[in-house]
Structures are given as structure tokens and as C-alpha cells.
């Protein structure tokens, strides 16, 4: 997901992450993806550009 969309929106995440989690970690998965996007070097480049 982050390769194709370095700064994914919630909708991008909804469309891409279709795994089943019985423990209900979805809110954390979403938050973690946003956090990872912020940490990716490419995201930093985006910010600068």
C-alpha cells in the first residue's frame, strides 16, 4: 500500500486492507499505517516537495 500510496487516506486503507482480525485491532492497524507513512523516507520527500 505504502509503495503505491506513500500518504494513504482512510479510504485508501479501507480499500486495501481487507484482512479479517477477530481481536478487533482495526483502529490500531489504521493508526499504524498512518504512522508508518509518516516515518517512510519517501513521505519525508513528499513533505519537502
Amino acid at each position: 500500500l505504502l509503495k503505491d500510496k506513500p500518504r494513504p487516506t482512510d479510504a485508501d486503507i479501507d480499500a486495501s486492507i481487507t484482512n479479517i482480525c477477530r481481536c478487533g485491532t482495526y483502529p490500531r492497524v489504521r493508526a499504524a499505517i498512518h504512522k508508518a507513512a509518516d516515518m517512510m523516507p519517501s513521505a519525508g520527500l513528499d513533505k519537502r516537495s
Binding site: 480499500a15 481487507t18 484482512n19 479479517i20 482480525c21 478487533g24 485491532t25 482495526y26 490500531r28
Partner: protein, 765 residues
């Protein structure tokens, strides 16, 4: 292979992995296929995986059976609670660390050898007994005290060792973050430097752990789970990841109608298929020598089953599919449809209950000539826990010994069940607890490990890894029970219930959520009569996250809402009035917190609505007990009947919190679990068989279905000294909050789950 050797995963070698003929198996009735599996020589052993990657480095010293300290200050804690993703392991490590005063960043854990407990005079369970020690629940008072004591004791011995080294009084030594400091001189020693001498020290008397208000880690820090790195990088070992040299795989099929028996199967048809080693038949009627397990006998009983054993799992699966099998369905097949079962359940509610569960005051008399009656009937269906890791386990049975690798939810129960099924003494039972890929109650009874051992013992000398297919796991469950109940109340002149009658079909587990809640205790409602009616069915039931409460909280909180609507009183206000004299401030606090944070009572467009519910898990009828949870759902129902959950808010009171983030994770997950249970889950029956076998027919919410506004609020906490459970409670109020919101939005009352099966269409008038 004798002697008390610890089964080390790394060193594991199958000394007896030979291989000659397996024992002969077969024989159910005269027609059953009789087969003698021939074991071919197995491949050269490969390296066994390391089940617990946290191993203490060489030179580690055992301070006590629970704690090892290495020269580099790594502290290895042995944890007796299985980790199923709920954070129990991390919580226990935190509790020990609080008193040990070691460096949290150097804490490692491994699971305890329960076998050692039997061989070494109950070194682990002397205080609590094995059932309480080798199980979940990380914050029960007895267990908290035990773990704090373990940490304090080790710390005092480390201090004493440093004092001896420097020839100074112990009182001058401070222990902090794995460093021992001689305060007057500033000299320092690390834990790792004195661990060996500390191990030899016996304290004249045990230290007293400090009081909770002096804790510096518990309730202060929110460390993430120690298992997280393993889970993220894929090195975590669950039961299904176990690989052993020479291991065979078994694919399993049990009687499709629960309680049925295998009539015959034709091994000849598959015996030449690739990789096939043989079949194993499990006969539930075979006499077994019982060992006393945690739960009584029965829950973990074997079901009639046949398994194909092969070199690889897929070979076993394909051969099982090709195996001609005939079953005797027995009486369960009489239930042709789900509807037939539901109608029979409703019919039982027409009669007075067989058993009076509780009777206070004169409920029946008041209800006999009440001017203002509210009456409603509810039903919740069979549901499956559906943990993502399918049921599985690995066992190696040799002469007078069994070794098991298994994701048990209660290690003690699985251990004793394995010993019983193998017919060996607990001293010769070696149980390797793996991480657990979810349980939600499914793995409590250890019926899974019984089948694992029952199959493996037919292939002695070879480890056999039995895996339930998703379909097999879902159709051979120990389900959340089908439950139905009729509620009847008489409202007094202030609109509050003065008398309540509840008639329950298939009662189960202490009627949690009905008989133990504030409305039915301490005369909150002056007259209460609760009766129950058994309704025997063949379908096997068990524990599903928050047993019985997960249905009864829905019934009770829907019914209270119906009373409020009849009385014409706001549902929040109604509950506050009803609970006005309840001597536990947490209830009021939770209601007010969740109402304030959710914007309760704000104006909403047509088709939108808010619903509220409050419940408590495990209070046993007593104030300041159990965990109270209140929820508000803000929903929209479109005119075409589509239900949208715009916002879910939850407040709670479990007394105090030791790890805020761990509690938050459980509450969020529990809300989503309760949401899926209420919106989606129902197992149906056809000709006695469970129909749903996978997530195509048994839907699960995905990330995109989960409300983005899902909020947990901490303002309901009362600060009471208890540390009550947090996994089960949030499952209760979500369903009724949504049902009550649907009523506000549409005027339609949904009295059964799952909500997805209701027609919620409405028209503008």
C-alpha cells in the same frame, strides 16, 4: 527417556522416533474399516523450531523457579499464563518487575514448564493450585500478590548479596533498574554481577510488597506487549507453526451431527494416495481413565472422529476428502431447520419455568393485575468464537510419556486432558505452551488437545500435528448457546418497574447479566421472579467471550429501554433514576461520562438515533464488583433499511487500571467483537448439522466496516481498589445500545440478533 529433563525446544530430539508399525486401529461396530497404518521410515530430522525465542543466555542463574538472571542483566521471567493476544504475559512481567526493580528493557519471558510443577513438589502452584496458576487472568488479587511477592523476594536476595559483597548493612542498599547502589558510598553492582551469590541466599523472612500507592510502573507506564516484535516480524510461534523432525500431519473430520457416531470408512480407497500413512479413528465410547481436570468431565469429551495422517497437511486434507465415510447421525438429525429450533425454544417460554432461579417480593401477584405492563421476548442464536488460528495441536506419544505442543487457553486443563488421553502420569506429560492465536473461550475446555492426543497415540513414536480445517473448526464448535427469554414488568406510578418476571430458555452459567445485575439485586426492583427452562439440544456449547452475559445484557438492556419508552422517560434519565439508590457510584459515573462524551440528547435528523446501555461482567449481584461498562451508539438507518453505525462510545469502571494502553486495546477489540456478534453472527442448522463453515457465510467486520468514531472514555473509573476483568465486559452493552438506537431512529424494536437479518426499512410520514 526418563528423568525430569526440561523439554527444551531447541534441544528437542526424538530419541524414540522410530518407526515400526503403528498400533492397529479401528473398529467401531462390525462394519467399521479396520486399518493398520504402516509407518514408512521418516526423513532425516531437521532443526526443530525454537518455540519461545526468548531464551536466557548461557550463564544465567535461577534465583527462583520463576526468575533467571544472566550476567548481562537479562531477566528471564517464567510466566504461567498463556498469551492469546490479550497481554496477560506482559501484565505479569510488569507486576514482577514492579517489585524486582529490574530494567524493563531487559525483561524476557518464557512459559513455565507445568511438568516441573508435578516433578518438583508444586514449585509453581503451591499457593494457588494448578487450575489458578496455569491459566489466564493476570490481575486477580491472589495472582497479583503472588507475582509481587516473587519479585520482592528476588530483589531482597540481590540486595543481601550486594551487602555481603561490600560488608555493609542491607538497609544501605538501593535496588533500581537492575542496579544495586550502596547509598553512603555510591558504589554500584549490577544484578547480573551478584545473581549467583543471591541465588544461594535464604532470607530470614519474606519481604512485604509495597502498597499500591507506591507503585512506579503499574498504573504509571504503558509498555507495549512484549510479544509485539515477534508478532510483527513473524517469528512468534503459535501452535500451528510447530515443526518437529519426522512430524506427520493429520486432517480431521468429526461427526457432522454432533453426538453422532462413525459407522464405517473405507481406508482402501485412499491408502495409495500421495503421502498417506494411515488413518486414526477416535471412539468416544472407549473407556478412559479420568484425571481430574479444571472443568469437570464432559466438556472436553472426545467426539466420534476419523483423521487421515500423511506426510504433509495438504495430502491429508485431500485424502480425507476422498475417504468414503458413513455416519450414524443419532438424535440430533431430528432438527431439520433453525426455525424449528427457534420455535421450540419460544414454545418453552409459554410455560412456567422448571427451576426458580430467584424470587423476591411478590412479582407474580403484582403482574397478575398490573395496569401498566411491558412484555417482550428475545432470542440470540448459536455463535462461534472463530479464533483466526484454527484449532490444532501436536503430540508425540511414546512408551509411558507424552509430549505436547499446543496453543492452550488454560494450560492446566490442556495438560491434564493430554495426560488422561495418553493414559500417562502428569509427571510424564511434557506440555509446551505456544502463543495462542485467539481463543475467545473456544480453547478453554481442551477438547481440542484430547483429539490431538487421541490421534497421535495411534502413531506412537512420531509427532503428529493435527489441524482442524476452518470448516471443521466452525462446524465442530463449542458454541455460544442459543438463548431465549421472556421479560414482563409492571411499571409503578413513577414509570419505573415495580415487578419483573424473567423466564429463560437454556439458562447456562449463572444467568450473568440478568440475575446478578443491579436491577435484580438489593431490591432495586422491589419484586423480582426469575425462572428457567432447560431445552436439551445435541449441539455442543461452551464459553464464548463473556458467557451468557453476551446474550443477557442484550435482553436486559433492551427491555429496560422498552420500559423507558413505555414510561415516556429519556433512556439515560430512566437508568439514572432506576439506579439512584444503587450503592456503587461507578454506575452513575459511567452513564454520565458516556452520555457527555457521546453528545447524548443532541438533535439528530430523521432516520438517525442514539441508544444507551449499561451492564457489568462478573459482579455477582454485588456493588463495587466486576467491570461496569456503558455504551452509546449513534446510528443512521436509511429508508431502504441500511444500518450505519456512525459512532460508538464506551465508558467503564474496573476500579483501577494498571496499563492504560493494554486496557484500551481490550476495550476497543471487545467493542468490535460485540459489534460483529450483534450485527452479523448466527450459526444455522440443517438436518442437525451446522451450515456455516467459513467467513463467506459467517461474516466478520473488516477494517472498512469498523466505525471510525469508536471511542473509549476513561472518565467512568471510580478509583475503587479492584482490578477487575477487561476482556469480557465491552461485549455486553454494544448490541443493546445499537438496538435501542435503531428504535429511536425507526420506531422498530429488534429483539433478536443478528441485526443484519432484520428488515429495517421505514417510510417518511
Amino acid at each position: 527417556m526418563t528423568g525430569p529433563r526440561k523439554i527444551s525446544r531447541r534441544e528437542f530430539v526424538i530419541a524414540t522416533s522410530v518407526v515400526g508399525g503403528g498400533m492397529s486401529i479401528c473398529l467401531l461396530g462390525t462394519d467399521a474399516a479396520c486399518t493398520e497404518p504402516e509407518l514408512r521410515p521418516h526423513e532425516a530430522p531437521t532443526d526443530a523450531v525454537e518455540l519461545t525465542p526468548h531464551e536466557a543466555p548461557a550463564g544465567a542463574v535461577e534465583l527462583s523457579p520463576w526468575i533467571m538472571i544472566s550476567p548481562d542483566d537479562t531477566v528471564l521471567m517464567r510466566v504461567s499464563s498463556p498469551e492469546s493476544g490479550n497481554g496477560a504475559l506482559t501484565q505479569i512481567a510488569m507486576t514482577i518487575t514492579e517489585e524486582l526493580q529490574c530494567d524493563w528493557t531487559r525483561v524476557k519471558t518464557e512459559t513455565i514448564s507445568i511438568n516441573r510443577d508435578f516433578r518438583q513438589n508444586n514449585v509453581y502452584s503451591a499457593v494457588g493450585g494448578i487450575a489458578a496458576t496455569f491459566a489466564g487472568r493476570s490481575t486477580l488479587p491472589e495472582r497479583m500478590n503472588l507475582f509481587l511477592q516473587i519479585g520482592a523476594s528476588a530483589r531482597e536476595r540481590l540486595r543481601a548479596a550486594a551487602a555481603a559483597r561490600w560488608r555493609v548493612p542491607v538497609s544501605e542498599i538501593e535496588a533500581k533498574s537492575s542496579v544495586l547502589t550502596h547509598r553512603p558510598t555510591g558504589r554500584m553492582l549490577r544484578f547480573g554481577e551478584v545473581a549467583a551469590s543471591a541465588a544461594a541466599i535464604r532470607l530470614p523472612r519474606e519481604p512485604t510488597p509495597k502498597p499500591p500507592d507506591q507503585w512506579s510502573l503499574l498504573g504509571k507506564a504503558n509498555p507495549s506487549k512484549l510479544t509485539n516484535p515477534l508478532v510483527v516480524n513473524g517469528s512468534a510461534v503459535y501452535g500451528i507453526d510447530v515443526r518437529l523432525p519426522g512430524m506427520l500431519y493429520a486432517a480431521l473430520m468429526q461427526s457432522p451431527v454432533h453426538g453422532g457416531r462413525l459407522k464405517r470408512c473405507g481406508f482402501d480407497a485412499i491408502k495409495n494416495m500421495p503421502g498417506v500413512r494411515g488413518i486414526a479413528i477416535v471412539d468416544p465410547d472407549q473407556p478412559r481413565k479420568p484425571v481430574k481436570s479444571v472443568f469437570g468431565n464432559g466438556e472436553n469429551a472426545a467426539q466420534s472422529a476419523v483423521a487421515v495422517v500423511a506426510d504433509h497437511y495438504w495430502q491429508a486434507r485431500k485424502a480425507l476428502e476422498a475417504l468414503p465415510v458413513e455416519w450414524d447421525d443419532r438424535s440430533g438429525a431430528q432438527w431439520k431447520t433453525t426455525e424449528q429450533i427457534y420455535q421450540a425454544a419460544f414454545a418453552t417460554l409459554e410455560h412456567a419455568g422448571e427451576k426458580i432461579e430467584k424470587s423476591e417480593g411478590t412479582a407474580l401477584k403484582i403482574l397478575g393485575h398490573s395496569a401498566r405492563l411491558v412484555e417482550a421476548t428475545y432470542l440470540t442464536p448459536f455463535c462461534d468464537q472463530a479464533p483466526i488460528e484454527p484449532l490444532n495441536g501436536t503430540a508425540l506419544v511414546t512408551k509411558n510419556r507424552v509430549d505436547v505442543w499446543h496453543p492452550a487457553a488454560i494450560t492446566a486443563q490442556a495438560f491434564l486432558t493430554a495426560a488422561e488421553e495418553a493414559g500417562v502420569a502428569p509427571q510424564n506429560t511434557f506440555f509446551n505452551q505456544t502463543l495462542v492465536g485467539g481463543s475467545f473461550g473456544r480453547r478453554l475446555f481442551a477438547d481440542d488437545v484430547r483429539l490431538v492426543v487421541a490421534i497421535a497415540k495411534q502413531f506412537p513414536g512420531r509427532p503428529v500435528h493435527t489441524i482442524w480445517s476452518r470448516e471443521e473448526a466452525m462446524r465442530q464448535g463449542r458454541y455460544r448457546d442459543l438463548t431465549a427469554a421472556r421479560f414482563k414488568a409492571s411499571l409503578g406510578d413513577k414509570g419505573l418497574p415495580e415487578a419483573l418476571l424473567v423466564r429463560v430458555c437454556r439458562p447456562g452459567f449463572e444467568l450473568r447479566g440478568i440475575a446478578d445485575c443491579p436491577y435484580t439485586n438489593l431490591r432495586t426492583i422491589a419484586s423480582v421472579h426469575i425462572e428457567s427452562q432447560p431445552f436439551p439440544l445435541h449441539i455442543l456449547t461452551g464459553a464464548y467471550r463473556a458467557p451468557t452475559y453476551n446474550s443477557y445484557a442484550f435482553f436486559m438492556e433492551s427491555f429496560i429501554d422498552e420500559c423507558a419508552a413505555t414510561a415516556g422517560i429519556d433512556p439515560l434519565e430512566y437508568r439514572l433514576r432506576l439506579l439512584a439508590n444503587w450503592p456503587d457510584p461507578g454506575w452513575k459515573k459511567c452513564l454520565q461520562e458516556v452520555a457527555a462524551k457521546s453528545g447524548w440528547g443532541r438533535h439528530l435528523p430523521k432516520g438517525h438515533g442514539q441508544g444507551i446501555a449499561i451492564s457489568n461482567w462478573d459482579m455477582g449481584g454485588k456493588p463495587r464488583s466486576g467491570t461496569t461498562v456503558a455504551a452509546v451508539a449513534t446510528v443512521e438507518v436509511t429508508p431502504t433499511g441500511e444500518l450505519k453505525i456512525h459512532q460508538l462510545d464506551l465508558s467503564f469502571d474496573c476500579g483501577r487500571v494498571l496499563n492504560r494502553d493494554a486496557v484500551l486495546a481490550q476495550l476497543q477489540g471487545g467493542m468490535i467483537f460485540g459489534l460483529n456478534m450483534s450485527l452479523n453472527e448466527e450459526l444455522t442448522v440443517q438436518d442437525g448439522r451446522i451450515v456455516e463453515g467459513n467467513f463467506d457465510r459467517y461474516p466478520m467486520l473488516r477494517l472498512s466496516d469498523t466505525p471510525k468514531n469508536l471511542h473509549v472514555h476513561f472518565g467512568g473509573l471510580s478509583g475503587h481498589e479492584r482490578l477487575t476483568e477487561i476482556g469480557e465486559p465491552p461485549v455486553g452493552p454494544i448490541g443493546p445500545a445499537i438496538a435501542n438506537a435503531i428504535f429511536r431512529a425507526t420506531g422498530k424494536r429488534v429483539r433478536t440478533t443478528p441485526f443484519r437479518k432484520h428488515d429495517l426499512r421505514w417510510t417518511h410520514t
